[in-house]
């Protein structure tokens, strides 16, 4: 297979409400930062993938509104409506088609503009589900309870994830919620949808991220150390929540196995140094670690308790602070890829995981992790 690498990354700072920037302004900032990082001109970018969602943008064909800001004039440009990791997958495929050398992938999000409950309620089936009023948070409450019941995971276990990630965020200049918390702080925070409390939930965030993917020939000449794509896997589970055992994540396990198989990874816990995963809620970091095969079901909490997943641990998970510390919807998965590329280059500054040679980035789509996309990258 043709080798493909990430040769440039750019992110805005993620904030509760970025009133200085329109959607297009965010896209322009992330795009130009990624180009500056790769030391590449817009002429050399030969195609563009944008990522947006019409409901979150409050308009139809939201992709068309940001084409100018993405430098897509006179280029082959297309769009993915879903998490940024899936947009990057489309960008990767375009290079693998042999028709393109360099793909810009850019995602933007302004969750602050709409109503999170109403927009996330709209992801559910309008015939059987939507009128009951479930949304992103209450559906996650159902999943968290099921997972914690089945595997005897406690709210304190989940609190440790929140504490770690908000601490990690202090070393990430792009993060939105960086602070030191105690178990007591998390446990006594306002209940949203039990067992989920305020500090178990990711914030409402605005921001954009971009990556530049390049074919092997171009990547070998890149200004920065390329982060090579070793394997990608993706899979989706049943749409209706009631069709799934919400404590399980078969789609993620399948996606991870596909990615590991491509990358030649047989022992992910030993072979992977740094992980950036989509922890929209604290319990999800535990679930996704298990789905990614780092430990048996129900055992991720123990790894967190033992400090294994801290930045200095043997399996650093979300050294950027993760999605708990900034949740620009759709953009968050692309931010995970950008962060892993920086880690592999050794340029993650204060949040650098020492000796990171192999990294995993994870993104998801849909309610309670219906669809997952797993990337393995290496130096």
């Amino acid at each position: 297979m043709e080798r493909v690498a990430i040769i440039g990354v750019g992110q805005t700072k993620y904030e509760r409400q970025k009133t200085e920037d329109s959607f297009a302004d965010l896209v322009y900032e992330a795009t130009t930062k990624a180009m500056a990082d790769a030391e590449i001109t817009i002429e050399e970018i030969d195609n563009v993938v944008t990522i947006s969602n019409d409901f979150w943008d409050g308009r139809t064909i939201s992709s068309m509104a940001v084409m100018d800001a993405a430098g897509a004039a006179n280029k082959n440009a297309s769009t993915v409506e879903g998490d940024g990791t899936f947009g990057a997958l489309y960008g990767l495929m375009r290079i693998l088609s042999g028709s393109y050398r360099t793909t810009l992938v850019v995602a933007h999000s302004k969750s602050s503009m709409g109503s999170l409950p109403i927009i996330t309620n709209s992801m559910f089936d309008p015939i059987y589900y939507r009128s009951v009023g479930l949304d992103g948070i209450s559906s996650a409450g159902l999943q968290a309870r099921r997972y914690m019941d089945k595997y005897l995971v406690t709210e304190e276990d989940c609190a440790l994830v929140s504490i770690k990630n908000h601490h990690n965020a202090k070393a990430n200049p792009y993060a939105q919620l960086a602070t030191e918390l105690t178990v007591e702080d998390v446990m006594s925070s306002r209940a949203l949808a039990e067992p989920i409390k305020l500090w178990d939930a990711s914030p409402i965030s605005d921001g954009a991220a971009a990556i530049i993917l390049a074919c092997e020939n171009r990547a070998k000449k890149s200004a920065k150390k390329p982060a090579w794509v070793k394997g990608v896997g993706y899979c989706a589970d049943a749409y209706y929540l009631g069709d799934r055992d919400l404590a399980e994540m078969d789609a993620l396990s399948t996606a991870a196995k596909k990615a590991y198989s491509m990358a030649g990874i047989t022992e992910p816990f030993k072979e992977i140094d740094v992980v950036e995963l989509y922890d929209a809620f604290s319990y999800q970091e535990l679930m996704w670690m298990e789905g990614l095969g780092f430990c048996d079901r129900g055992k991720a909490a123990k790894l967190v308790q033992e400090g294994v997943t801290q930045r200095q641990g043997s399996l650093a998970v979300n050294p950027s602070g993760g999605v708990l510390s900034a949740h620009p919807v759709l953009t968050a998965g692309l931010a995970r890829l950008a962060e892993t590329a920086l880690q592999l280059r050794g340029e993650a500054e204060e949040r650098q995981v020492e000796g990171a040679k192999t990294a995993l980035a994870h993104g998801m789509n849909g309610s309670c992790g219906q669809g997952h996309c797993v990337w393995v990258l290496s130096q």
Binding site: G58, P117, I127, G141, A193
Partner: protein, 153 residues
């Protein structure tokens, strides 16, 4: 010279869009039975034999048509639940704190997401609790013809 804005403007609006959703033949039968007879029906996959409630035409796993209808009792087991503490008037039919659950009806292999009502003590709601459907007096052929499920026994 263009002056720096003193504050950044945010325009407010409201997106209103009349819309209709075709329920289809399978969902129409389900809603009609719910409205006219307070009966809950599911569809059964001829391959994996799973009973799907709410019903649909196709089994996503076996990728075959499900032609067989199965009537279910209005009782079941609470698979999971959450106590909601925030209020979104556009969505919620109950005042917080209220309970959502996923209910696996007796004889069904999938769950229904719905309200758990008549809860006097939130601590009494447990995963595995037995529940039964409470139907509305005035039914119009929607999932809300089930008012909520309540704990039994």
């Amino acid at each position: 010279m263009v002056q720096q804005a003193e504050s950044y403007k945010v325009l407010s609006g409201r997106i209103k869009l009349p819309y209709q959703w075709t329920v289809g033949a399978t969902g129409s039968k389900f809603f009609t039975e719910l409205r006219d007879h307070k009966k809950i029906w599911g569809t059964k996959c001829p391959e994996c034999k799973k009973v799907f409630v709410p019903p649909r035409k196709t089994c996503g796993t076996c990728f075959v048509d499900m032609g067989e209808w199965v009537e279910l009792r209005p009782t079941g087991r609470l698979e999971t639940f959450t106590v909601v503490h925030y209020h979104e008037p556009a969505l919620h039919g109950m005042e917080p704190p209220f309970v959502y659950g996923i209910i696996k009806l007796d004889g069904a292999d999938t769950g229904i997401a719905h309200y758990i009502g008549e809860v006097k003590d939130l601590e009494s709601v447990k995963s595995g609790s037995r529940v039964e459907a409470v139907f509305r007096e005035q039914r119009e052929g929607s999932i809300l013809d089930i008012k909520y499920f309540r704990l039994i026994g």
